[in-house]
């Protein structure tokens, strides 16, 4: 009895002294579902609560007067309502509106693979690229496990969606890289010039890319270098074919890294069986210097420069000389410089300025012929972007690219010296508009003027994406793409136009629970391709822009990090149907670099008790065509399919010491890359030919990576290839 009385008395007192207002409410999401866990409170007071599982809340307050009731929930716009508190009961029904946030909103994925470590939804991360067996630590090698690419073992370069390797461009921190691959002999595979460990992320666009990028008919690879290193360190890499030493010194707002490298394949090639004869195995010395400096609150300045001097001599049987062995000797000198600045200008404007300089010299001696090829490239770009509110961003910028190419050919009796210099000036603009967090469109255009060709081109680009559910979306992309003809043609003529490809891409992507699926359909319409009319190659009249072609196909990608514990795999399949009539083709035909079915599977497993990451991958490309001049059908012969089963093993001996081993083609599949023929028939009217073999059936790598820091606990985990 007594407690009751007391509580009644207390109640009365409280009612008398402080009039109590009761606010009740139900909070729902846009679709009417209850929203539990929302924060409901009176602004500037301690009176508040969270909504229960039914989305309901009840706040009792003794405050009187006008107060703001706020209801907040992460990812939603905060609800605010002015309330007059005077001791009665207020009931509210509140519907929350989803806040617009570009991070969670739909993004355009047609044709694009992105890598980074910030978000989970990305399909491939830089670490994945490094730990892919068979990539042998090459950026381009790793990309060939993605759909849309075709492996061409005699080249090693990127071939994307029925495009030739020259149709792909590489950008580092926004700057075009004029010479992305190492120099190699004809029909001998090459690798990318850049150490994959330099990069923290990449975007690989296999079509329909932004108006920001030009001079590429098929694809662009955008590589972003590492930001600030965490601490001072010394990295030592010893591989069976090379050695690298890198030292990093860091200060408060910047850092500098210097790298020295030496590569020599002589000891390796004397141990591992080779299909080709190398009087002088590839050997090179390189140095790199990279500087990072923070400027102001948001800016970051990056500078990278490298020099590389190397060469090799390979002995080949010359079919034009009756098959006698002839040495092909190459000496390459490459200097590259790249700088960029990224940051905000004032409150809203942001700017990305970039520039690069390339100087590449190839000295080739073949029998009595001496060829010097000199490429110089200067690239400058400035991009501005300005957000009009959250949902509309305008981006625009300009670009300048100068490329000078000089080729000097000395034969026993004659000397030919040809050169050209071209300046391309471009401007582009692009608007990105979010109609909602579910629907985005990007519309832009690009103007390009080439002074050597005196050509002026306009490229419209359009793309859009729609989010069907939280986890899945559709994207489409369309655009015109132009690229100047091959350097080898521009040496002899300036009466050509840029080549053109129109892209139509449709893609579906779904990501849920550590699994990603992508389906992409595309069609590419090639026009104005350079065609040779059969005249002498050095005559301008031998060239025209009457070539054409198409490529269409289906790309599938499946990745699953979830099903197998400590295991992770992805499967890519590409179907490609393409034909062209260009260059020296007598008729429309399948080009030699295209293969109809491409399949790749990558699997990685982490063995915790062994402190090891094991990788295995399998690759299959259906037979490509090659041309046999003895046959009446152009490009009518088929080579063997390409198959390779590769394995790799990384072992963490200590956190700062990693051992690494890899073998390609363990199953010893027989691979060959078509045939090469003499340029003229022998006495019996036959063109003698020879098989193009891989440079070796298997490639072995053994390595050790050591990182020394003051604390002694950093490692080169991202160095595992």
């Amino acid at each position: 009895m007594k407690p009751k009385v007391i509580s009644i008395i207390l109640f009365l007192i409280s009612v008398n002294t402080f009039p109590q207002t009761v606010i009740t409410g139900k909070v729902t999401q846009e679709k009417g579902e209850a929203m539990p866990g929302a924060n409901a409170f009176l602004q500037g007071t301690y009176d508040g609560t969270s909504t229960n599982t039914n989305g309901q809340f009840k706040i009792k307050t003794t405050k009187t007067g006008t107060y703001n009731l706020l209801v907040a929930f992460t990812g939603y716009e905060t609800y605010s309502k002015k309330l007059e508190l005077k001791g009665d009961t207020i009931h509210l029904t509140i519907q929350m509106k989803e806040a617009f946030n570009q991070l969670n909103a739909v993004n355009i994925t047609a044709g694009t693979f992105e890598a980074g470590d910030k978000r989970q939804a990305v399909t491939i991360t830089p670490l994945d690229m490094m730990t892919t067996a068979g990539a042998a630590g090459d950026v381009y090698g790793a990309l060939q496990s993605l759909p849309g690419t075709t492996t061409n073992g005699e080249s090693g370069r990127l071939f994307v969606k029925g495009g030739d390797s020259e149709e792909s461009q590489t950008y580092i921190d926004g700057s075009l890289v004029a010479v992305p691959y190492n120099s190699s002999a004809p029909n001998v595979n090459t690798r990318g010039r850049f150490n994959p460990f330099m990069f923290k992320g990449m975007v690989f666009s296999t079509g329909g890319y932004s108006a920001e990028y030009g001079q590429a008919l098929s694809s662009v690879l955008l590589l972003n270098t590492n930001d600030m290193p965490a601490e001072d360190q010394l990295d030592i890499s010893i591989l069976s074919v090379s050695m690298d030493l890198a030292g990093t010194k860091k200060w408060n707002t910047g850092a500098v890294t210097a790298t020295l490298g030496y590569k020599n394949l002589t000891p390796y090639m004397s141990l591992a069986p080779q299909n080709l004869e190398w009087p002088h195995a590839p050997e090179s010395s390189s140095g790199e210097l990279s500087v990072r400096q923070k400027t102001g609150k948001t800016g970051l300045f990056k500078f990278y420069s490298s020099f590389d001097k190397g060469g090799f001599t390979i002995r080949e049987n010359d079919l034009d000389l009756g098959g006698i062995p002839v040495d092909y000797k190459l000496v390459n000198n490459n200097q590259f410089m790249n700088g960029s600045w990224n940051g905000n200008l004032g409150e809203k404007w942001s700017m990305n300025a970039a520039g690069s300089f390339t100087n590449n010299l190839d000295d080739i001696r073949y029998a009595q012929t001496k060829v010097t090829k000199h490429i110089q490239g200067i690239f400058l770009k400035d991009v501005f972007s300005y957000p009009f509110g959250d949902q509309f961003t305008l981006k625009f910028g300009g670009e300048f690219f100068q490329k000078a190419f000089n080729q000097n050919v000395q034969m026993s009796s004659e000397i030919h010296d040809n050169s050209f210099s071209n300046r391309t000036i471009s401007g582009f603009t692009e608007a990105q508009i979010y109609a909602s967090s579910k629907f985005v469109t990007r519309i832009g255009g690009r103007l390009e003027y080439s002074d050597y060709l005196k050509s002026f081109k306009v490229s419209p680009r359009m793309s859009a994406a729609y989010k069907v559910t939280d986890k899945s979306q559709f994207s489409v992309a369309y655009g015109w793409f132009f690229q100047n003809p091959l350097d080898d043609y521009l040496l002899y003529t300036r009466k050509l136009m840029p080549e053109r490809a129109d892209h139509y891409t449709f893609s579906f992507q779904s990501f849920a629970n550590g699994r990603t699926i992508r389906v992409e359909l595309y069609y590419k319409d090639y026009k104005e391709l350079v065609k040779l009319n059969g005249g002498e190659f050095y005559l301008p009249t031998s060239y025209n822009n009457l070539g054409y072609g198409y490529a269409k196909g289906l790309d599938l990608f499946w990745r699953d990090k979830k099903t197998i514990k400590n295991g992770d795999y992805w499967i890519s399949y590409s179907y490609l149907d393409t034909k062209r009539d260009y260059r020296n083709f007598p008729e429309e035909a399948i080009p030699t670099f295209a293969s109809k079915h491409n399949f790749s599977m990558v699997y990685k497993h982490w063995f915790g008790n062994l402190r090891s990451l094991a990788g295995i991958n399998f690759k299959y490309s259906s037979p490509r065509v090659y041309n046999n001049p003895n046959s009446p059908v152009f490009n009518g012969e088929k080579m063997l399919p390409y198959r390779s089963l590769d394995v790799s093993w990384s072992f963490l001996y200590r956190q700062n010491v990693i051992f690494y081993g890899a073998v390609t083609n363990v199953a010893d599949f027989k691979n060959e890359f078509g045939r090469t023929y003499a340029s003229s028939p022998d006495a019996s009217g036959n063109y003698p030919g020879a098989v193009i073999p891989p440079s070796s059936n298997r490639f072995y790598v053994l390595g050790c990576f050591i990182t020394l820091t003051r604390k002694g606990n950093a490692n080169q985990l991202d160095k595992i290839e």
Binding site: A38, G44, Y46, T74, E231, L652, Y653, Q655, N713, A714
Partner: protein
């Protein structure tokens, strides 16, 4: 002697401030009391909401924001879905960056930053391990530089050492003596005020239990 004077001054200052803001200290005390009742993500979210509300009123105080971030970090550890984990940590990150501006002289702020970074690492140790273990070491290093006696800073370091032991070719149990010693001395550390951070002992007890 100096120490005694110092602690008297500290107690005095905190008493004065308590006297100045009785409602703040009372509400904080009550809200902190609810930590014990939190069992799942929803409970911690409600608690985090409460701290956010207090932070909205007490714009000059860093502790409400501190606990707000702490709740969201705990939520990320309780959650299974990786995308949601990162989502909660995004919320914590916002409060922590404010804290770093408001109270850059507080060891506890850097401890919390280390805890937050550990949360990021745990989402995907394979891919984030290298970068984030370095960042955690930096944050704990700064906390210890400000206050070498802070047991939570030591706990953060210990967790990181034990977590990365298998990668370094070490046995995690080799850190057990260190863990036991830290637990034995845990209560020697005196928080600055009744509402200053005290958490971590349970976590450490779990670790020590795992040593047996």
């Amino acid at each position: 002697m100096k120490k005694i004077i110092l602690s008297i001054v500290v107690v005095f200052v905190s008493l004065v401030s308590m006297a100045q803001k009785p409602e703040y200290f009372q509400t904080m005390g009550e809200t902190l009391g609810q930590y014990a009742n939190c069992k799942d993500v929803a409970d911690f979210q409600a608690l985090g909401n409460k701290f956010e509300m207090i932070a909205n009123v007490e714009k000059a105080e860093w502790l409400p924001l501190y606990y707000h971030a702490h709740c969201y970090i705990l939520m990320s550890f309780m959650e299974q879905d990786a995308t949601k984990k990162d989502g909660y940590l995004d919320v914590a990150e916002k409060s922590i960056s404010k804290l770093l501006e408001m109270a850059p002289g507080e060891a506890e702020v850097f401890v919390l930053q280390a805890f937050y970074l550990t949360g990021r690492l745990v989402v995907n140790p394979m891919e984030r391990g290298q970068e984030y273990s370095g960042l955690v070491a930096q944050a704990t290093g700064r906390a210890m530089a400000i206050d070498p006696s802070n047991p939570r800073a030591k706990l953060m370091k210990l967790q990181m050492d034990m977590g990365s032991a298998p990668f370094m070719g070490l046995d995690a149990k080799s850190f057990c003596p260190q863990a036991k010693e830290l637990l034995a001395n845990w209560d020697n550390f005196k928080p600055k005020s009744p509402i200053s951070p005290k958490w971590g002992k349970d976590q450490l007890e779990e670790i020590v239990k795992g040593c047996q």
